[in-house]
C-alpha cells in the first residue's frame, strides 16, 4: 500500500511540474491559466491521496482528507476570480505564430 502511495505522489509531482513548465513555455495569459489550473488540481488530489495511502486510516489521514476537501472548494474559485479579473480589466489575449489556434 505504501508503494502505491509513493507512486501517486510521484505522479502528482509530475503533474504539478508540467503546469509550472507550461507557464514558462507559453506567452498568452489565458493559455497559461487554462493549462495550469486543471493540472494543479489533479496534482493536489493525487498527492493528498498518496499521503493517505502511505499513512493508513487514522486521525492524520482524515485531517488530510478535510484539507483536500477545503482545497477542492477553494482552488477553482481562485482560478475563476483570476480569469474574471483579467477579463474585466480588458486584458487582450496575445496570439503569436507559435500558439495560434485561430
Amino acid at each position: 500500500m505504501a508503494m502505491i502511495g509513493k507512486g501517486l505522489i510521484l505522479l502528482g509531482i509530475f503533474f504539478i511540474s508540467t503546469g509550472v513548465f507550461s507557464i514558462l513555455r507559453y506567452k498568452d495569459f489565458y493559455t497559461r491559466i487554462l493549462l495550469t489550473s486543471k493540472v494543479d488540481t489533479i496534482g493536489m488530489i493525487s498527492i493528498s491521496l498518496g499521503v493517505v495511502l502511505i499513512q493508513g486510516l487514522d486521525f492524520f489521514s482524515l485531517k488530510v482528507l478535510l484539507v483536500l476537501l477545503v482545497m477542492l472548494f477553494v482552488a477553482p474559485l481562485m482560478t475563476h476570480y483570476v480569469a474574471r479579473t483579467a477579463y474585466f480589466s480588458s486584458q487582450d489575449p496575445v496570439l503569436d505564430e507559435e500558439d495560434d489556434h485561430a
Binding site: 509513493k6 505522489i9 502528482g12 509531482i13 504539478i16 511540474s17 503546469g19 509550472v20 507557464i23 514558462l24 506567452k27 495569459f29 497559461r32 491559466i33 495550469t36 489550473s37 494543479d40 496534482g43 493536489m44 498527492i47 493528498s48 499521503v51 502511505i54 499513512q55 486521525f59 492524520f60 485531517k63 488530510v64 478535510l66 484539507v67 477545503v70 482545497m71 477553494v74 482552488a75 474559485l77 481562485m78 482560478t79 476570480y81 483570476v82 474574471r84 479579473t85 483579467a86 474585466f88 480589466s89 486584458q91
Partner: protein, 85 residues
C-alpha cells in the same frame, strides 16, 4: 529519504512560482503566480506533516489555502476597481 526528495522538488517548484510572481509581464500573470504559490505551499506543508508525523501541522496547510484565497480575492478587487479599494 523519499519524502526529502519530494520536499526538495516541491520547494523548487514553489521558487519557480514565486519567480513568475516577480517577473510576470502583466499584472494578471503575477496574480496567477500567487495562486500557484498558495497551492504549492499547501502541498509542501502536507508532505512535511507526513514526514514529521505531527497532525497539527495540517492546520497550517488549511490556513495557507484560506489565506491564499482571501489574498487572491482582495488583489483581484484591487485590480478590478483600478486602485480604489
Amino acid at each position: 529519504m523519499f519524502l526529502d526528495v519530494v520536499l526538495l522538488v516541491l520547494a523548487l517548484l514553489s521558487l519557480a512560482s514565486a519567480s513568475i510572481m516577480l517577473t510576470g509581464p502583466t499584472m494578471s500573470d503575477r496574480l496567477l503566480g500567487f495562486n500557484l504559490l498558495a497551492s504549492k505551499l499547501t502541498m509542501l506543508v502536507i508532505v512535511y506533516a507526513l514526514k514529521q508525523q505531527i497532525p497539527f501541522y495540517l492546520d497550517i496547510a488549511l490556513v495557507f489555502s484560506l489565506v491564499g484565497f482571501i489574498g487572491v480575492i482582495f488583489i483581484g478587487n484591487f485590480i478590478l476597481k483600478k486602485g480604489r479599494i
